[in-house]
Structures are given as structure tokens and as C-alpha cells.
Amino acid sequence: MTLAPNPLAAPAATLAATPRPTMIEFRDVHKYYGDYHALRGITATIRAGEFFSLLGPSGCGKTTLLRTIAGFEGISSGAVLIDGKDMQGVPANVRPTNMVFQSYAIFPHLTVAQNVGFGLRREGGTAAEKARRVDEALEMVGLKGYGARAAHALSGGQRQRVALARALILKPKVLLLDEPLSALDKKMREQMQVELIRLQRQVGITFILVTHDQEEALVMSDRIAVMFEGQIAQLADPEMLYRRPATRQVADFIGVMNFLPATVTSEAAGRIAIDVQGLGPCEIDAGQAPGALTGGAAEVGFRPETLTILYDGQTATDRETPGTIEEVVYYGDMTYYDVKLDGVDRPVRISMRNVFGRPVLDIRTRTRVAWSPGALVLFR
């Protein structure tokens, strides 16, 4: 613990008992670039001490939204509040936020220590005191002893750490991260993901991450806002987002989702009766159907791992449907099967873990697929 101890970095058990206060609030935020409507009515709250992600494809407005918090972008209407204060007219250099840029923006003409201590220039305190804080910040990001090095001679991962130390040394209320891991290779990225989570727990500062990588968002975040075309399509925790996506678009963007046409036959007392192509009639809980339903044509979605291919002698605990294996993709630990269920015109993807003793099946094998209505999500 090298930065200021934060009461919000308390154990999860106490946090669950007392809801975290709001740190950022968006109130119907709109942003126009000329005729282009970049942000279309963003209303959301981000809680203090939370690791929050803005996830979406490029051009969805996630970076623009992040920059409205930092103060680099003005807004056309609505309000952005940080810790209860309206940020209208408050310039970026006095907002209680600091940013880690996509390019890291390390000042190339300064040393590592000068970079990290840049924000302290305007603060009071002796030179020795400032040097101590720089050392602490460097130690926190694992760059102890790097202070005297020239910044332009660092590797990508080291620049990333310098950028983090430089932003955190001012103890901001909110740390903004604009696609900070996109320039790193896969291994380095995974390592930094874990380190960022650790760092966030350690300092307890609200982290807001912008990313287009759904896996990264799922791994790191407490909550995620999925954005499309300037709007938040869903704001939920990773598990909810994955298991109960609010729209077909969200379902499609996060992981792999199979879709089959379905008809709603009746709706009563929190239960919905549907007839799914290939799977047949079944009943689901109203919670599995986001959005208002009017009956008639709809679609069900289900994840590849919610289906199981039954081997000879195995029986389904819930429901089963016959089909033919059309494609086999072997991944080492997993095998993906594309199975054409009887009565369905396109194959569904099923993932099976390659546990010891379970053979990989051949293409064109007739098989039975076990599934459960509880794993379905219904979209209008």
C-alpha cells in the first residue's frame, strides 16, 4: 500500500452490506460533431471504487464518453457529475481525474522520474518529499530503480507502467484508461490485466476502462456498459452480461451465441411458453426474456457451453434433441462442434471440454444434444 489508504478499498463483504456511493453520473448526455450524433442520451452512474468498463466496437462513442469525464470533450446537452459536482465549464486540468492514454503519451524528452513526478510540479512540498512520492509510485507499478532512465528508451510494457504511475501519483478520484492494453502483445496484455486488477484493489480508486475487447472487459470489470452507436445497450456485471444479454446485439458482441427462431405461444404469471425450431415447445422464466414481449415471432439465444453432446449410454438430465455433427474444430483443451439439429436449417455451435477419456467425435456422426430451457435467452 503505497498510495493513500482509501476506505473504499475495504473487503468485499463490507461493501456488499453498504452500497458504494456514486462517483460519476451521466444525465442524458448528448454530443454532436456537426451533424454527427456521437453520444445519444447517456444516462448512467459509476460507483466509487469500482472497476468499470466501457465496451463496444470502434466508433460506438466509448472513447468520446471517457473524454467527457476527463474534460477533453465538451458535451452538447445533459450533465456529467464527478463526486456530485457538475463538471460543466470545469477544464481538464482541474478535474479530479487522470488519464492513461492509448499511446501512453510518455514525455520523450524527460526521464522516467520526471515523467512520473510531472503532476507534482504544481504541488507544494519539498523536493525530497516529491522524490519519495515518485519512488513510491514507481515501486507500486514494479519499476523500482528505473527513475533515472530516459523515457524514450523504455519497452511498451514499461511505458504502460510509467503512464500508470504518472496518473496515480496525483491520487485522482477517477483513473481513466483509454484502451491501455491494445498496443501490447497477448502475453503481456494478460499479465497487465491481472496487474491492473491488483493495482485497482490496492489503491481503491475508481477505474474506468475503455476497450473493444470483450474478454478483457469480462476479466477485469466489476461492471460493464456495452455501447453501440452512441447509446448504452446494457449496463451490468460481467456474469449478467454474459448470461442474460439485454439485446441480440449485446449477445452477439459478447462471446459466441447461437440463435434459433422461436414463437411465443403464451405468457402468464412470470412464465413464458415458447416453441423453438428444432428444440420444440418449452417454458422459460420471464427473467430470461429482456424487454417487453408482444407475443408472436421471436428468437432464442444460447451459449455453446450450455449444450452437451451425449455419448452412448449417457442420458440428459433435462431435455435432449437429435442432430448430426457437421464440423469439428479442435482447440486442444476444447473442441467446438457445429451440430445441425433435426428440423433446424443452420447448425448450432457446441463447445465440449476435452476431459480425459472423452474421444473427439468425427464429422457426420449422428448424436444427441442435451440442453436446458433455463439456459435460453429470448429476444424479440
Binding site: 514525455f107 510531472f118 524514450h152
Partner: protein, 269 residues
Amino acid sequence: MTDGRGLRLYAILYLVFLYAPILLLPVFALNDATIVAFPLSGFTTKWFGQLAQLPTLFDALRNSLIIAVSSSILATTLGLFAARASSRYDFAGKGPIMGLIMLPLVLPEIIVAMSLLMVLLGMGLNLAVWSVILGHTLICMPFAIAILSAAFQSLDRSLEEAAYDLGESRWSTFRLITLPLVMPGIVSALLISFTISMDEFIIAFFLAGAEPTLPVYIYSQLRFPKQIPSILALGTILVAVSVVLLTIAEYFRRRGIAKVGGKDTGGFL
């Protein structure tokens, strides 16, 4: 590879054509004869010595230095604003405005000189050193902007945002981050503008009035055959100084690019 050999020969002949006349300058400046012709008659440095006895030469040199220093500072300062504006902001009419500023690069100098002369005389102003400074600033600006634009473009915009985000003001961000990182470009623009102004003839000839610059003085002395070897000696010194200045300018430009980790995308040398 006969094709390659033909092209190499062409390239060599081309370079000889370009630089042989300039190489003759020091040869005849050190030759002990008033007539510029082969065969050489002997080695001497007396023409360099004679330069010191020409009082009007020093007046011309002083004029040239005043003009070159002033117009290079003016062109670089104005170029700094224009280059930053064009590389950082999008505004209405940016294309045409930048095009007009860069136009003197391709406009015949004699046209620029004549129109300036007509306007200045029409306004009833006296021609002097200041009018040449005006003209030289005009023709140096495109070069300064070209160099400074490259310097700004290779500068990551988020560097300025990062400094601002860390609590600096707009001005201190410019002073602490932008200026040091484009400084090599500024030095390079100053030196190139200085060199262009020192060598420029047409505008100086039209606008200098009774205060000639060095090139104008050299031209006027060519009428006297006796003076020619001295002028060649002067020319030798000017060529040497120009080469040194341009080399320093290029050194700073490249160092600037290396410093911000950018890629070299041209330049004048």
C-alpha cells in the same frame, strides 16, 4: 546490368554539372591572376586579403546580416503559429489559407519583388533594409512552415493532453512539452530561413534602395574585371558558410525526429 551502369553514369554527369562550377570558385579564388581562365598561374591568398579593403563590402554584409536575422526570426515565429494551427485544428478555409501562405514557394520571385516594389512606392514609403526584411519574411515563411508542420505532425497530440490533464495550464503545457519537442524544428527553420535570406538576390535588388545586401553588392562589383577574383573569394566564403548552416539545420531536424521517436519523412537535405 548494363542499364544500371548507364543510370550511374548519368547520375555522375548530373552531379558534375551541378557542382563543378561551384568547385571552380575556390580554385580561381586561390589563383594568382586577374583573368578567370586556365591554365592556373600560381597559388595566392591575396584576393581574400583584398576583401578587407572594401568598406562598402562590410556595409553590405551588415545589411545582409540584419536582414537575414530579422526575417528568419519573423518567418519562424509566424510559421510556428501557422504550423501549430494547421496541424492541431480544423477550421473553415484551412486548405486555401495554407495554400496561399505556401504560394511564394512556387511564385516567380521577380513577380513578388515587382509587386512589393509597386505597392511600397505607391504608399510613398522609402525603400531600405526594412522593405527587404518584409520580402524575405514572405519567401522564407513557406520553408519555415514546411519544417515546423513536420515537427508538429510527428508530435503525438496526447502528449499535450497528458500535460494538461496533469494540472498544467495551456501555456505551461506549450512551454514544458510542445516547445522542447519542436525546438529542433525551430532551430532548423531559423537556419534555413537565414540561409535563404543571405543568398536571395532578386527581392533584395528591387527593394534595397540605397542599402544593398551582399548578393546585390557582388552583382554590382562584377562590372569591374579587376574585382572578379576578390568576388570569387567572397563567394567561396559564402558557399562554405551556407553548407555549414544547412548541415547544422539538418542535424537539428533529424535529432528532433529521433527524440520523439518519429519516422523521417523528408526534409531539405
